[in-house]
Every structure is written in structure tokens, then in C-alpha cells.
Amino acid sequence: MNALVVSAIEKSFGPVDVLRGVDLEVHGSEVHAVLGENGAGKSTLMRIVLGLEHADRGTMTVGGKPYAPRNPADARRAGVVMVPQERTLCPHLDVIENIVLGIEPSGPLGVLREKDAVAVATRALALVAGEGRIPIRARAGAMSVADQQLVEIARALAQGGESARVLVLDEPTASLGKSDADRLFERVRALKESGLAVVLVTHFLGDVRDHADRYTVLRDGKVQGSGDPKTAPPEQIVHEMLGRELESVRGEADAAKGGAGYRGEAPGGGAETLLELRTVAGVAKPRAASLTLKRGEILGIAGLVGSGRTELLRAILGLDRVKSGEVVVTAPRGMGLLSEDRGGEGLMLGRSIAENIALSPRGPLFVNPSHTRADGARWISELSVRSSGPDQRVGDLSGGNQQKVQIARLLREDFDVLLVDEPTRGIDVASKAQVLDLLRELAGKGKGIILVSSQLDELVSTCDRIAVLRRGELSASRPATEWDEEKLLLEAAS
């Protein structure tokens, strides 16, 4: 039976038509992947299903009954729960309090029953994370992004409880390491077998092939195709997503930039050193990191979640305290960081695209708003940010397009050294290729780049050298040609 049926949903924000008659049928006991470019409207559709937004037109049913949730509480009563794309935990509450939020077990007069809450929460947590993986009394705000993601999934499962029919996961693995992602999909399979309908929004086509039973592609506010990902060739899916071939997209991007060269022309031994680390240790992580970065090269850092990759970048930049060792910066135009925490520290969500891009510690005393806008418009077209213009609030952009705005700011600053933390998180295939090409091109122009990524294929194909971070200790780097994904994974996990 169909668990969730969405028919002819239309939604516009002001003049922008985001959904223009979308139909979607999700069966019980199936994992249904929803695919599409950044800004295709996937998250908007899911927010409508959860009652966080309201469709302008169209109807839905859940389990055959008409379904029109006014808010997430209605959705929960009908058995529909979601893990949204952006992190939504209460940073001041602990893990347990977050998981039972809104469904707190309570007695007369609403007095909380702490024991029951612990039981509900630990049961839900056990479904997504191994024993002791998540400290249940830690405050959510003090946890890593990956751990927060796991807590959110546990929360959705707890909220659905016994009556859950539909679980929506909006890019659940975007910030998870491989082992956490594998465990999550194991759980998804078990949930599916118990009858749940799972809607999976993701940009990882490999995950779709391995774990989804059907897929639906959204583009231009309409359904462009659907089928079985195990039989549909990936080229076809990509074509449905983009409306054109991926290779031609790459070609266009190259042509536009005068054909950036790939791999090769690694910087000679004589290239200027921009940055040197001598056994740098932070407060907890990293514990010992030495590296040199030269002009024109991309140094990749591989490592499992929790190995201290983000902490390493923060220590280099001086955002976290360096306890011992030395960071020697010889780069004349300084260093910039692309944060993995887009909404938290990477962007001013309430301000316009142009203002975000123009944010800079240098620059003139007085700003000319029309220059700022013109500059914003230029970067929007340069990185093909999907938006209604430079004045749009960054918070209203889709996740992937927010990432592009963050990148644009760094490029505008023209730093010599770029510290890039998970640049392709939440970005669609075409933009992903575009961002990586851009990094290569920048290196070609003489920048030094440190690239942290959980996507090992990305590291191998983009970097000149790769070093592996293991529990806070950085190995010596080796040329990327000596690595492949398996070797990296082995090294990182050993």
C-alpha cells in the first residue's frame, strides 16, 4: 500500500516558483530516493510533507487517508517524521532532553518522568549508534556535527515511535563518516523491513544505487524521471537531474575558464613555501601535526570523523589555541577558512548574498552598496548560485547554494592559503565537479590549498599530496598518485 502520496503540489516563494505540480508515491517497506540539483526544491517538498511549509495547491495522503498537516505535531500524529537538512538540536539541552523533545514522558500536571525519558532516548540511540558512542548527558552544542546528526536521527525515530509510517531523511549522510553512514543504512534497511516508508534525499548516487528501491528526480519544480536505481544507468539519472550530460557541464566550465589543467605540473621543488607546521598540538586535537604547504599545490587531509581534521584547520588559523609546536605563515596575503559549519559560523544567514560575499576584515572604510551588489551578482554568475539575485537572504537559499556563497567570499578575499573543510558537503554532482575544478584552477594560479574531505575519491582526484590524520596525529604526506581510496581508508582506520 502507498504510505505517502503527494499529488500536484505547487509552491512558490514570492515570484519564485519552486514546485510546479510535483507527484510522488512512496510505498511502505521501501526506500525512496529523491534526487535533484541544488535548489531543485527537494527540501521544500519535504518541509511541506512535514507541515513546516504549506503548499499553495495540491493534496497528500498518508496510509490512504487525506493528510494536510498544519504543523509538525500533526505530521507526527499521522506517523510522519523527518531529519531536516540543517542541524536542528537545542544546543543548551543534553542528548536525552533533545531526543524526547515534544514527547517528554510525563505524569500528572506535566511533571517529567526522567527514568522513562532515559529509556526512550537510549532505545532510540541504540538504533543509530553503537553502545557508548554518544554520551547521553553531553550538551548538544558541545558535540561534533556528526554526533549531532546521529542524535537527530535518533530523535526522529523516537518521535515516530511505534506508529511511524514515513521517515524523511534530508541528506542524512552529508556530515557522517563512512562507518557511521554504513551503520545508518543498516538501520534504514531494518526499518524498511519492519514496514516503514523511508524518503531519502541525497546527492550520493552510490548510496542511492546501494540502498534505495526507487528514485524520483526533481528539476525545475517538476518530476523529471523515476525508476529503479539498480537498473537505471547512472548517466541517465544524472541526465534527468541536470537536463544535460555531466561531461558537457565539465567541458563548459573548462571552456569558460580557459581550460584549467588537471593533475600534473605539480609545483617544482623551488616553489615558495606558504605555510609550515612544526609538531603542532592543540588542547585536545591535533596531537602532533607537521606539514609544509607550497605555492600551487593542494594538500589533502584524510581521516575518520573525530580524528581532528577540523581542529587542525582551526589551530592553523589560530581559531583554537595551539598548545605546543609552531605555525609559520609566510603567505603574504594570509589564510582563509571554508567552515564545515555553514549555518553556524560560515555565513550570516539573515543577510543578503552580496553582503555575505563582501564581508571582509580589509577593504575601504565606507562601502558603496551598489558596488557590493554588482560584486555579488558577478560571483553569483561565476559560481552559478541559484538565487533570485544578490539581495536574496542567504538563509533562504538551498543548502548547496549556501555553500557556494561561502566559497565565493573566500575567492573574493584572494587569500594565498585556503583551508577548505568539506567543500562539497551538500552539493550536487555538477557543482561538486565545478568546485573541485575551481580548487585546481586556484592552485594553478599559485594558491596553496589544504583540503579536508570525507570523500576519499575527491581527495585522490584533486590533491597533489595527501596526508592522513589518525587520532590527532598527522602522517607524512605522500603524492596522491601513490594513494587510492582503499589505501586511504585502511591508513585512516588502522
Binding site: M82, L89, C90, P91, H92, E97, L101, G110, Q159
Partner: protein, 318 residues
């Protein structure tokens, strides 16, 4: 885990700082006053009595600040309440009816503010800035620009510097009640959740608007009760009373460890904060210090409280 280790990793409660500060300041006054007269029970009772209005208002303000809001109308509301009580008593109403009416008016005002903030998503600072002016004006108009004299008909015994005064016990009971609501009920948990991350609260099916309406209504109800206590000390309806009281109340809550950004706060901390302010004030008067010294000392305490609190936060994070 050994008991010692678990003790060390335990989060230090937010009220500990203001409690220690209170002890220290009290001890200093006890030492420097001639013949340690600050330790006399009569002074102690005087301070308890003076704390009642401030502490009761701080209870409500704690709820408001935990949701990330602010209420600037407290002082005007207290003054309006004294006027309403006096006017009703003068008109021949029984004390019970007078008090009930005044508290009901205050609660209605809070519900209105709550609807503006919770449903229409207006900024609490601006809404209550407006409310503050409107209420002050209404109080003065209602009292025809003068104090209202009346027979307090027993209400003057509500709050006295005596252990048998019901006012002190009512304040204690209210503090316990609000502490329980905030710490041990679903509603209290939702108050924290809304202040910590409103989007998350909504996603979990919590009606954030409703929570805010209730919080402002409860806060104003408490301000109404504080107004009745204030009337008990004044025994007249004074429309120009308690100007700037809201700033003392906010200071008490902030000293008590609640950041204005919301998501955190404790009733016990706010009560200690209120007591601290009163101890400084009473001590200064007792020592014959000029009033400017009190202002400066109170201000310095606010700085120190915030600095100590942020240091504590940084330590627990790393």
C-alpha cells in the same frame, strides 16, 4: 567511574556563583559594620521584606529571559497594580476582590504582550518598551495624576519586617513553584527548548507561540502579585512608583547566570541575584554610604557576574 571523577565532570550549577557572591558580600558587610550590627535579625528581616518585590518579579523575568525574550514593562505594571488595588479599595471593594482584579489585569497585559511576541512575532524588546509607556500612562491617568490614599484594610500587614508576615512566605512558595515548573515539567522543558533553538522546538511539534504567550502571562501575573506586595508597603496607590524596577529585575536574573541570548537560567540563581542586589543596597544605607556608591557597586557586581559566568562556560566547553 569513581565518585570523585563523576563529581569533577559534573556541571557546576549556575546558581553557585551568585550564591558565593551573596555570602561574600554579606560577610564583608557583617565585618565592616560597627559592632557587626549587620548581623542583627531585624536587619535581616528588613532585607527579606525588601527583597520580596524584586525576587517575585525576577521569577517571571527568568522565564522570559530563558525563552530569549525580555520584559521592560515590569516597573510600570507594578505601579499600575498599586493604583488598581488602591482605587478598588477606595471604591469600597473587599481586599480579596481588589487583589484579584489587579492581578487579573496584570495577567491580561502579559497575555497581550505574549500574543504580540508569540503569534505576531514582534520583537519583545520593542513590544514591552511600548507596553511600559502605555502602562505608566494608564496608571497616572487612572490615579488622576496623584497618589491614591485609601484604607488598606489589612493589606498593609501582608508584607512587614517580621517572620510572621505572609508576604515573605508567599514569595518563597512562589519561588519553589516556579523552580519546579521550570525544572521538572514538560512546560519548563519547552521554555528552555524555545529559547535554545526555536526552529528545533517547532520541528518537534512544540507550539513555540503558545509557550511564549504563557511565559509572558505568568511573568506579568507574578509582577501583579509583586505589585500587591508593593502596595502593602506603600499603603497608597502610587502611579510613579517603581520606575526602573525592570532594570534591577533584569540585573538580578543576569547575575543569577541567565544569558540574555536565552536557553539557560535558573530560578535559584535569580533569587540569589535579587538578594545580592538588596544586600548591597541595605548594607550601603546601613553604613551611611552615599547612593552613588550603591549604584557603582551594583554595576561592578553585574560585570563580575557576567565575566565569571562566561569563564565558567568556556571551561565546561573545553
Amino acid at each position: 567511574m569513581s565518585a570523585l571523577a563523576s563529581l569533577r565532570t559534573m556541571r557546576r550549577p549556575a546558581w553557585l556563583g551568585p550564591f558565593v557572591a551573596l555570602l561574600v558580600v554579606y560577610t564583608i558587610f557583617a565585618i565592616i559594620t560597627p559592632e557587626h550590627s549587620f548581623l542583627r535579625s531585624q536587619i535581616f528581616l528588613t532585607m527579606a521584606r525588601q527583597s520580596v518585590v524584586l525576587a517575585i518579579c525576577a521569577l517571571g523575568m527568568t522565564l522570559v529571559i530563558v525563552t530569549g525574550g525580555i520584559d521592560l514593562s515590569t516597573g510600570s505594571l507594578v505601579a499600575l497594580t498599586t493604583v488598581v488595588v488602591a482605587k478598588m479599595l477606595k471604591g469600597g471593594s473587599s481586599p480579596v476582590v481588589a487583589v484579584a482584579t489587579a492581578v487579573a489585569v496584570a495577567t491580561a497585559v502579559g497575555a497581550f504582550v505574549g500574543v504580540c511576541v508569540g503569534r505576531f512575532r514582534l520583537m519583545p524588546f520593542v513590544v514591552t518598551l511600548g507596553t511600559m509607556a502605555v502602562l505608566r500612562g494608564s496608571a497616572i491617568g487612572l490615579a488622576s495624576e496623584q497618589k491614591i490614599d485609601c484604607d488598606p484594610r489589612g493589606l498593609d500587614h501582608l508584607l512587614e519586617a517580621s517572620l510572621s508576615a505572609p508576604g515573605i512566605w508567599i514569595a518563597l512558595a512562589l519561588a519553589a513553584l516556579v523552580a519546579i515548573v521550570l525544572g521538572y515539567t514538560r512546560f519548563g522543558r519547552h521554555v528552555f527548548a524555545v529559547g535554545s533553538n526555536e526552529a528545533a522546538a517547532r520541528l518537534c511539534g512544540i507550539d513555540a507561540g503558545r509557550v511564549k504567550i504563557l511565559v509572558y502571562a505568568i511573568s506579568s501575573l507574578l509582577a501583579g502579585i509583586a505589585g500587591v506586595m508593593e502596595f502593602s508597603t506603600l499603603t497608597v496607590g502610587d502611579p510613579t512608583d517603581s520606575v526602573g524596577l525592570e532594570l534591577d529585575v533584569i540585573a538580578a536574573v543576569v547575575i543569577g547566570g541567565a544569558p540574555l541570548a536565552g536557553g539557560e537560567g535558573s530560578v535559584l540563581g535569580s533569587v540569589f541575584g535579587a538578594l545580592l542586589i538588596i544586600v548591597i543596597r541595605t548594607g550601603a544605607v546601613h553604613m551611611g554610604m552615599p547612593s552613588w556608591v550603591q549604584y557603582i557597586v551594583t554595576g561592578v557586581i553585574i560585570f563580575v557576574a557576567v565575566a565569571v559566568d562566561s569563564a565558567r562556560r568556556r571551561r565546561t566547553r573545553s
